[in-house]
């Protein structure tokens, strides 16, 4: 899909000026998380849903409310469509949002999406009025099917969650982008800023990352790097890069002719 260079990111009915979606997972404490979130410039951040600790809340929602960052609940930990649908409905109740990052993983070792359960859950949640952002494999066919079910975005992985292996199949990401009519968000696998930039250069509309920032030695600094990486990649994508050439092509004028 073609987009203007200064256009906001639009997912469902929501509009964002930042194209970096941060996850909150992995931060050592809320203070470090706050600094990283602010440095990232993000306007949307993921949270998970777990049993209430009766001894006191985590203060996470208060923090996000204070920072004015919208919440994207995930269905992390779900292995079946039924579990994911229930978790999404609970998240909608708890957080009063129709947005959901739909995750249905096949096993703990790879945390790769289970495509069959994922598609089933996506259909049910779209029917139930959710704005569904599915975490998916870097499979152009599955991405197309998710879009056809009515998902508001598709979020292919660069590499497995938490690995920091970057984008293992850039061509697949390009193919997903080429066919998609909804925003493509590169989700999972980003390790450093150049990889976030690459995702945008490949045509992604946004990048979603958590571990790369929250588990970096200096999360605040890495969040800044990721923000700049996303901005640089987006600008480069829309600046019209030069074609690749086999041989050199001088950028200085030809030398003046020597003495006759």
């Amino acid at each position: 899909m073609t987009e203007q260079a200064d256009a906001p990111l639009i997912i469902g009915d929501e509009k964002f000026d930042s194209r970096l979606i941060m996850g909150t997972g992995g931060a050592a404490n809320l203070e470090i998380l706050e600094r990283a979130l602010v440095a990232s410039g993000t306007e949307l951040t993921t949270v998970a849903l777990r049993r209430v600790d009766v001894t006191g809340g985590t203060g996470l929602l208060d923090l996000l409310r204070r920072l004015g960052i919208r919440v994207l609940p995930n269905t992390a930990g779900c292995r079946t469509a039924a579990e994911a649908v229930l978790t999404a409905r609970l998240a909608r109740e708890a957080l009063e949002t129709d947005l959901v990052k739909l995750e249905v993983v096949a096993d703990e070792r790879t945390l790769l999406p289970d495509p069959v359960e994922l598609l089933d859950a996506a259909e049910q949640l779209v029917d139930d009025g959710f704005t569904v952002l599915p975490y998916t494999n870097d499979d152009p066919v599955l991405a197309r099917k998710l879009e056809q079910t009515g998902c508001a975005a598709v979020m292919p992985l660069g590499s497995p969650i938490g690995t920091g292996l970057g984008i293992r199949n850039p061509h697949n990401i390009e193919m997903i982008v080429a066919e998609a009519g909804v925003p493509v968000v590169l989700d999972a696998g980003i390790g450093t800023a150049s990889e976030a930039a690459l995702a945008m250069e490949l045509g992604c509309a946004a990048v979603l990352l958590a571990t790369a920032v929250t588990r970096a030695a200096d999360p605040e600094r890495m969040a800044t790097a990721m923000r700049r990486g996303v901005e640089a990649g987006w600008a480069a994508r829309h600046a019209g890069r030069i074609p690749r050439r086999y041989w050199a092509h001088a950028s200085s004028p030809d030398p003046d002719p020597g003495p006759a």
Partner: protein, 68 residues
């Protein structure tokens, strides 16, 4: 009577079947930022004052934590 609240056995004081809102308040749970499932079904906030909790009910109360 006994219910299972977030996986743990929980004694409900008094007679009869209390409404969900009462059970949550008695357990000291916050009113905002939580969602409740009873026996695997979401109970919308709007029904908390009518939904009766019966003996042996499995009540799950969830909130947002860091993740993803």
């Amino acid at each position: 009577m006994q219910i299972v609240l977030n996986g743990e056995s929980h004694e409900i004081e008094g007679d009869g079947e209390p409404v969900l809102a009462r059970v949550l308040a008695d357990a000291g749970l916050p009113a905002r930022g939580i969602a409740v499932a009873v026996d695997g079904e979401v109970v919308p906030r709007a029904s908390w004052n009518e939904h009766r909790i019966t003996d042996g009910a499995r009540v799950e109360v969830l909130t947002a934590v860091q993740g993803g």
